[in-house]
């Protein structure tokens, strides 16, 4: 690419021209901003305004443009010049819409606008057009870990889309739990009868598929690399090892049934006639094979009454058992009660539940169960006592409000799903040893062998808007391993995960970022010669993208990187940067503002705002004409995690009177799109107090606040309160020293 030619465009539209001197902004761009080309326009986003810019790019070979107009969030279709480097100074939402009308405010408002122009010019000169990472890994094969219904579905759906697939299953046969069911709950109209699991056909179409290769009795011994170039060592039972390269991974390692021996009070392990739902499926399959009804395990006697106990060892608040609900169990018990009713309507079947959970069309299945004569009773079971060939189920009948009991030949405990998540990388090694977990993926990642876990040992996934966003790019959890679920949902989930895997390999092959900065071609560039091997970047990267080589230098795996810049924020020696986002691109903006002297009574407050939530909130404050102090200068950042403390110290040294950082909520219900960014910023700022004291500054001169995107009114208030506080503690003594 040829050498840099800069241009600045000042829009006069939307009242900018009326309320500000565009002329002066142009002068600032030219004189101070040193822009080689400066143009004003009455209506820059109009067809001919845009054409003017295009012509400059074509004829004048402009490579870097600074647009002073509306927010970078507005008019994105018009201001779309993919071949040049661009930044935008937010004069509309950020200045005229957030400042009061009238001459009184005129001067400081103009100063605000001029500063934004200065900052834009300073930034653009430090930006480059991202070329995309040279690490464009081309392998597009999908590895599916687990051959249950989730894994098989993910495999088949990927293959049907034209992708090569590899399945690694630790058992000797495919099918998982689904293969151990007699029938399944219906997922299509009519929702009235148990239906065939279809697992046989599914296995057949997978094994016969030309694009699917299957490893049985096999586990993953090691996984290294990154999307587009994962290297996987597969260990098979017979000792034979294989190495395969894949582009992305779907982890469908499934679940294990909660151990009913942990439920002795419910007869678990006490009697053959007390089984879990899986146990009953086994009996049903056995009976079907012999063409006779289900017999009583203890003596092969006839079964005349069956009790189903819901939430056995689930929804437990005592901390002894599973705290969550496994979602499928109500429908499953209804289905199993139907097994009996269909073989002999005379058999009494009672389902004891506290909340019957059959969402959606499951309600029809519930009705169908009642219609067959299955009895449902709201109750809390206290004890199952086995005697001889029968069991007494003692329970509190919640509707009839009395202690009650049922005699049953067979008792089925609806126990829950325990995810096969592998090792919990957030636990200390010794704690792990105690839990004796077996790793699923055996990642060679610096941050641990498996995907991080969420509450209850469920495998990572961002859980409302973006269910597949695990913290390990290119590795997607699917099925009950990440959330308890039934077959119908697991099938959908696996299909979605397959798409994300496909997306990951496509992105990797083009050197593009994955969600949430999808399509971003910038990537972290490190000047290793300056690196002090402090390891902060490798430890703090929320996505485990950075490993270490034998010399303990960081090794960046671009296609694992999500471009949040947390590493850049972490680096004490500032050797990490992106082509279009770097310590300098922000640092220069901080230095560029025109700093009034300490007698001017015009403080300057730097606002570093998260571009995902805080910055939009500020825009909307403008749209709603919420007025805030004209002394602030806002700089959007990719994530507070990318904020390097050098910016803060530079600002304070440069005479800024206060620094505000606005980021997303952190903690349990974190809302940071990069998971730990705002949390890390908070942690780092905790440390900055010492620096402030050294500089002889009040600690209030730096503050962090959690802001939600809906806080349009609140951000203005926060700013004004902070401005008031700064007025109170007075101007920075550092002014004029810079």
């Amino acid at each position: 690419m040829s050498e840099m030619k800069t241009a600045a465009y000042i829009c006069q539209g939307c009242g900018i021209g009326e309320r500000l001197s565009a002329k002066q902004m142009a002068v600032v761009a030219q004189k101070e901003g040193k822009m080689q080309l400066v143009r004003e326009h009455a209506f820059l986003c109009s067809a001919e305004g845009v054409q003017m810019i295009r012509d400059d790019i074509e004829k004048e070979a402009v490579t870097h443009i600074m647009i002073a107009a509306c927010s970078r969030r507005a008019k994105t279709e018009a201001f779309n010049f993919p071949d040049v480097t661009m930044t935008r100074a937010n004069i509309r939402e950020g200045v005229i819409w957030s400042q009061p009308e009238g001459d009184a405010a005129q001067e400081i408002m103009q100063e605000m606008a001029d500063d934004y122009v200065r900052m834009g010019c300073a930034e653009i000169k430090k930006m480059k057009l991202p070329q995309g990472t040279p690490d464009k890994a081309q392998n597009k094969r999908i590895l599916v870990v687990g051959g249950g219904i989730s894994g098989l579905t993910a495999a088949l759906e990927s293959a049907e889309a034209g992708y090569e697939v590899l399945i690694v299953e630790k058992q000797k046969a495919l099918g998982g739990w689904a293969a151990r069911l007699w029938k399944r709950v219906p997922a299509k109209s009519p929702y009235t009868d148990p239906i065939d699991t279809g697992i046989v056909d599914l296995i057949a179409s997978v094994t016969q598929h030309p694009r699917i290769k299957v490893y049985l009795n096999a586990t993953i011994a090691q996984t290294s690399g990154a999307p587009g170039r994962f290297l996987v060592h597969i260990a098979t039972e017979n000792g034979a090892a294989a190495t395969e390269e894949v582009g992305a991974i779907v982890q469908a390692s499934g679940f294990t049934n909660y151990d009913i021996n942990k439920l002795p009070e419910l007869g678990g392990g006490k009697s053959q006639n007390v089984v879990d739902q899986a146990g009953l499926e086994q009996l049903a399959i056995e009976a079907a094979r012999q063409g006779q009804p289900v017999r009583r395990p203890s003596d092969g006697g006839e079964v005349s009454s069956v009790a189903f106990i819901q939430c056995a060892g689930q929804r437990d608040e005592s901390g002894k058992h599973l705290p969550y609900c496994s979602g499928h169990c109500c429908n499953t018990s209804i289905k199993q009660a139907m097994y009996f009713k269909d073989s002999n309507p005379g058999i009494d079947t009672v389902v004891i539940y506290t909340d019957l959970r059959t969402p959606g069309m499951g309600e029809d299945f519930y009705r169908s169960g009642q219609n067959r004569g299955v009895t449902f009773t709201k109750g809390m079971v206290s004890e199952v006592a086995a005697h001889g060939n029968s069991c007494t189920v003692k329970f509190k009948d919640i509707i009839l409000n009395e202690d009650s009991s049922i005699e049953a030949d067979l008792v089925v405990l609806a126990t829950g799903q325990v995810p096969n998540s592998g090792v919990n990388i957030d636990l200390a090694e010794d704690a792990q040893a105690e839990a004796k977990p077996v790793s699923i993926l055996n990642l060679t990642y610096r941050q641990g062998k498996d995907l991080p876990q969420l509450k209850h040992g469920l495998t990572d996934s961002h859980f409302i808007c973006f269910p597949y966003e695990t913290r390990r790019t290119g590795i997607y959890a699917a099925g009950p391993v990440r959330r308890p679920m039934d077959i119908a949902q697991a099938t959908e989930d696996a299909t979605g995960a397959a798409l994300k895997a496909i997306q990951a390999v496509e992105n990797a092959s083009l050197g593009r970022a994955a969600h949430p900065r999808s399509g971003d071609l910038s990537f972290p560039i490190v000047r290793l010669e300056g690196c002090t091997q402090c390891k902060r970047c490798t430890v703090e990267c929320p996505f485990g993208a950075i490993d270490e080589d034998e010399k303990r230098y960081p090794v960046f795996n671009e296609s694992r990187c999500r471009r949040c810049g947390t590493c850049m924020g972490a680096c004490p020696v500032r050797v990490i940067s992106f082509e279009n986002y770097s310590p300098d691109s922000i640092g220069n903006q901080i230095k560029a503002v025109d700093m009034p002297d300490e007698f001017s009574e015009k403080p300057r407050i730097l606002v570093l705002a998260c571009e995902n939530d805080a910055y939009p909130a500020l825009d909307m404050a403008g749209m709603q004409r919420k007025v805030y102090s004209a002394f602030v200068r806002v700089i959007p950042v990719r994530c507070l995690g990318s904020v390097n403390t050098v910016w803060i110290t530079d600002a304070l040294n440069g005479g800024w009177d206060g620094v505000m950082m606005m980021g997303c909520k952190h903690g349990d219900d974190y809302q940071c799109h990069f998971i730990k960014g705002s949390e890390l910023a908070n942690y780092r700022m905790g440390k900055i107090d010492d620096t402030l004291k050294q500089l002889g500054l009040e600690t209030e001169r730096v503050t962090t606040c959690a802001v939600a995107i809906t806080d349009s009114a609140r951000v203005a208030q926060l700013i004004n309160d902070y401005a008031a506080k700064i007025q109170e503690i007075g101007m920075s003594p550092m002014k004029g020293f810079a």
Partner: protein, 427 residues
């Protein structure tokens, strides 16, 4: 409106809510060409009108912002708003879709400066607040609207307002000559993500939604607590603007009821649990929420949230389908009559406000869709994987946001399979 180029390699996504946007973006980020159709003037759908999501109590527009940024940065998606499908013919791999586009009367020149809104005087009920307040006939749907472009309501056409709006616009963005258009597109696969609509609460006669002003729906309640809602984030009674501190939530309002909707709408239990936390947010210990339910369906991980709310001293649970709601004379208070079935306790409870946890109906009516896609007993779409039209999100099943996104992502892959197979792609 210039007809966008579409081929048998194009995926059409119908519906610009969370499901439609997700399906479109996920497909586009796999490199596919997508046309995203929305019948209203803005993307975002119903979730843009929710105050918070369960169980994290985070804000839906936060995810919307990310999705909009994905959209702005992606050349593969072309968005058409105010556009509705009227007919689909053809088969998997080659469909012809007839689309009606309503005039917006505002063209691409619009900078969203808002001068037109200031220039007009007449107002219409604001659909983005479920008609609980008014908006100008020239309006921006909401701050997160995309495209960020004003709309001139058809009712203004031919009135002085229209002229004033046009005069006020410095950018020739108001085009009163716009006409309805009908275009035809050829696409390879279709994702049907038209979402859901609340069941007509007035039909649930015993609860008196049509008679008592202080009986509202759960969706209306979302707007009450939203800063941009009709009450600016305060929980006030429609009848007298009094603070409503003692609030009843009636579950299964329309759902699980063969007189109305035979299915369970899945989201309502969690929605009400969530809304009790709005009451706490606004009134702290002074707020009082009572949930009248048959079964609390806080499936899987949501159980945590249920337990959290159960431990909230301001929230009470009564296992009962309320028999009827009566209004207490002129006070505007409401009396709920029924029986707590846990041991048979009769009640007649007073509340300031009653929120009906209203059920979900699929919005799939009135379109001529090929037989390959069929509806279940409640009208939700059941797609045949052998076909090329796939239901996504709440058009296909009553789902919460998380499951809708999952479902839409899966639908995107099924559409991609169709596209790749017709092109004979092998990777």
């Amino acid at each position: 409106m210039t007809t966008p180029i579409a081929t048998s390699q194009t995926i059409l996504v119908v519906g610009g809510g969370i499901s439609g946007m997700t399906a479109a973006l996920e497909a586009a980020e796999c490199g596919k060409q997508v046309i995203l159709l929305e019948k209203s003037p803005t993307l975002g759908g119903r979730t843009a009108l929710l105050y918070r999501y369960f169980p994290k109590l985070c804000h839906p527009v936060c995810g919307l912002e990310i999705n909009l940024r994905r959209l702005k940065g992606n050349r593969n998606v072309r968005v058409m708003t105010m556009a509705e499908v009227s007919r689909i013919t053809g088969t998997r791999g080659k469909y012809t879709v007839t689309i009606n586009i309503a005039p917006r009367y505002v063209n691409g020149n619009c900078t969203a400066c808002g001068e037109c809104a200031r220039a007009v005087s007449s107002e219409i009920p604001n659909p983005y607040n479920y008609g609980l307040d008014k908006m100008k006939v020239a309006y921006l749907p909401h701050d997160m609207a995309y495209p960020l472009r004003y709309v001139l309501d058809p009712s203004a056409i031919g009135t002085a307002d229209a002229e004033q709006a046009r005069a006020a616009c410095k950018y020739d963005a108001i085009d009163l000559g716009m006409q309805p258009e009908t275009i035809e597109l050829t696409v390879g696969a279709v994702i049907w993500a038209t979402g859901w609509q609340p069941y007509d609460a007035a039909k649930i006669q015993p609860y008196g939604y049509d008679r008592f002003p202080n009986v509202i729906t759960s969706l209306e309640f979302e707007r009450f607590t939203d800063l941009r809602g009709p009450t600016g984030g305060k929980i006030l009674r429609p009848s007298d603007g009094k603070e409503a501190k003692n609030i009843a939530f009636i579950q299964c309002a329309g759902s699980r009821d063969e007189n109305h909707l035979r299915h369970c709408s899945r989201i309502c239990c969690m929605a009400s649990l969530k809304q009790t936390q709005y009451v706490r947010e606004v009134y702290g210990e002074e707020g009082k929420s009572t949930i009248y339910y048959i079964d609390i369906r806080a499936i899987d991980r949501f159980e945590d949230f249920y337990q959290k709310v159960q431990n909230d001293s301001t929230v009470k649970f009564i296992k009962s389908k309320v028999a009827r709601v009566a209004q207490d004379g002129n006070s505007g208070d409401l009396i709920l009559h029924g029986v707590d079935t846990e041991g048979y306790h009769r009640y007649a409870n007073n509340h300031d406000l009653v929120v009906l946890a209203i059920g979900m109906e699929p919005s799939v009516k009135g379109v001529d869709i090929p037989a390959e896609i069929i509806a279940d007993a409640s009208g939700f779409l059941e797609s045949e994987t052998s076909g090329g039209i796939f239901g996504a999100g709440c058009a296909a099943s009553p789902l919460d946001v998380n499951r809708s996104v999952q479902h839409a992502t899966a639908a995107a892959l099924r559409a991609i399979q169709v596209i790749n197979k017709t092109a004979g792609v092998e990777i």
